[in-house]
Amino acid sequence: MLGGGDDGRAGKKKKIIPRRVPMACRDPQERIRDFAEVALGYTPEEAMAEARRCIQCKEAGCRQGCPVDVDIPAFIGLIRDGRFEEAAARVQEQNLLPAVCGRVCPQENQCEKFCTMGKKHDPVAIGRLERFVGDFELARDREAPLVAPPTGKRVAVVGSGPGGLTCAADLARRGHTATIFESLHKPGGVLTYGIPEFRLPKRVVQAEIDVLRRMGVRIECNVVVGRTVTIDELFDEGFEAVYIGTGAGSPLFPDLPGENMPGIKSASGFLTRVNLMHAYQFPEYDTPVLIGRRVVVLGGGNVAMDAARTALRLGAEDVRIVYRRTEAQMPARLEERHHAAEEGVRFQFLSVPVRYEAGETGWLSRLECLCCELGEPDASGRRRPETVAGSEFMLDVDTVVIAIGQRPNPLIQATTAGLDTSRKGTIVADPATGATTRRGVFAGGDVVTGAATVILAMGAGRTAARTIDAYLRGETDPWSG
């Protein structure tokens, strides 16, 4: 048995290893020329070395920081001992998408934030270790997790993003027949159309989805719930409960003069062209994408980083992220910020766009911005950016990509009676159960909370699956009384 020989020797003081094992990444100059993955993951030896840094706390804070409650100390302990298959099985008890989450979760704000090691040293690289077991599983022909005997109950899951997939998987494990309806031609939701190949290879997404298929989850693509079928019609078809996990894919625009001139695009449109439609492989694939020489991306989240790095890879010479706060307030994952900076993306902090200007041909040519300074904290708890009068400056630009957020698509809300929504267009659902105001209908993830993270959507899918199961068994009724 490899490593871990000192395990269980009570009383012996653990040796602290202050620094985490670095993860290999491709050279920035090389990687900005293609769409292959940037971060290469741990080797087995590196994973075991990193796992040895975990001090196996009794009261594991990391676990509380995980929205899907992965038993983090247990799976890390198994990696340390070289028991990778068991480690993978342990992660999969709570998370069927470890290779995805290991790549895209903002670990520094979740599990790793609560790591005891992190109080004085580097926190244990939990995300990288999760990715390691996820990739280990994908590399071998793993068996799908066991499912309970069929209950004969059918549940419709709307949307095949991380929340829908998690909900469907949990329902399948409990013996229910889950059918996922996806409006696009490929499942995966934001994992497929939104997150670029260089950060999350599509083969990883599709391989994790295949595990669900092998568990008996059905996926019907090209069905737009709200248009092709309504929620009411799904009940007519014999589904006994519906989970809505349609996310927040409708792009927001800052509403500035000149916004619809050519050269200004939403990050969702840009990334959908590139990721779902393979526009980066034009003309081998038929969908083209245009990117100018000088690109400005508006926003400070992961979507903004993805858009900026994608623009570079498509050949833009000057890519600049314009963000109204400072780096400390940026919501993007730390790793993505580092990667973007390494690749040559420039950051224009404390700046807001105010006006677009067209060139002679009618295409965008300049963007006027104002400088900001940070004032008092706003509702989000972050200091509010306030514009500085007279601080106008102009940027020469051919393309602006807007990545300031998304809101839910309105189709289901508009075609479903009795489904309450907020002013922002999100569906009202009880966070503890996922129950909406409409009997038999549950919802979770971005369509309820507004744009958030993959892992939070997965947590919501899991919560709803638990309630749906109890509801179908007649053990609970969120709508009684």
């Binding site: 409006s183 693509c221 090209n222 092709t228 409708s250 001139m261 038929d286």
Partner: protein, 279 residues
């Protein structure tokens, strides 16, 4: 795969396909569109629903071959399949008893005007159909339109059939009648719809146009189809495709439609070179 049940060739470049898509056929209404993708590496393109048959489980589309995707689609024969077919998308045409309605169709827009005429007539309207084509060869469905409308007026740009001129010339006469239309619905190329709006504005006639901008997903995600209507940004795919023509910023829309022209031509040229110009 969505199977092609029937194909009709109207002219060298205008074709009809009846495609098996039961879920879409059950729901489609006049004015709605579908998004389709021919093959794995293909684009998603929107096409307006020309007809549907819920019993056969089929949807009919009529299109003109202008780029690689429509060219490939047009080369498919009965029994072949297309990879993806989604819909119905967009909002159906508003159908009420308005009184007298003029339905104006140009080019393949004639196929979109047909179900609208039929639905408006069923709702008790007196329907005047005004259709135009560049030349006689490109005109189709005259018989169907005659059935669906109370009056059918035809123009050809080159005078090769019925009357030489543009739909706007005829519409001007219809608008000047003792009992002018209470509403005008126009579907066709952007310059035609823009010209129609020019005429109806003079006469103060409410005019609905069906916009067909560049789209990627067709379900409100990409924002590529945004258009300024009455000074506000609207998404054609979820809020349209029909809008009050007098409020639409046609100049901006025309500019947006040009964005990918060079790439579209490149893709078509490569495709033609690959298949020896016989496609």
């Amino acid at each position: 795969m969505y199977r092609i049940l029937r194909k009709e060739v109207f002219s060298a470049s205008v074709k009809l396909l009846e495609i098996e898509a039961p879920r879409v056929a059950r729901k489609a209404r006049a004015g709605q569109f579908v998004m389709l993708r021919v093959y794995e590496k293909g684009e998603r393109i929107p096409l307006t629903v020309a007809d549907c048959d819920p019993e056969r489980g089929s949807v009919t589309v009529v299109f003109m071959e202008v780029g690689k995707t429509t060219r490939m689609l047009g080369s498919l024969e009965e029994g072949a399949g297309i990879l993806d077919f989604v819909g119905p998308l967009g909002n159906p045409t508003e159908i009420e008893k308005f009184g007298r309605v003029a339905c104006v169709g140009g080019g393949v827009g004639v196929a979109c005007i047909y179900p609208i005429c039929r639905a408006l007539k069923q709702a008790g309207n007196e329907v005047v159909a005004v259709v135009g084509a560049r030349t006689r060869e490109l005109l189709f469905w005259e018989d169907r339109l005659r059935e669906a409308a109370d009056e059918l007026l035809i123009t050809t740009d080159d005078g090769s059939y019925v009357r030489k001129g543009f739909v706007t010339d005829v519409l001007r006469e219809v608008a000047g009648r003792e009992y002018p239309p209470d509403r005008v619905v126009a579907v066709g190329p952007l310059p035609m719809m823009r010209a129609v709006c020019g005429v109806t504005r003079e006469f103060g006639l409410k005019t609905i146009v069906s916009l067909n901008p560049i789209m990627v997903d067709g379900i409100g995600m990409c924002g590529a189809c945004r258009v300024t209507v009455g000074g506000e940004t609207r998404f054609v795919c979820v809020e349209g495709p029909e809008f009050d023509g007098h409020q639409v910023d046609f100049a901006e829309l025309a500019q947006r439609l040009q964005r990918y022209r060079a790439q579209e031509q490149e893709a078509l040229a490569r495709y033609e070179a690959e298949c020896g110009g016989r496609c």
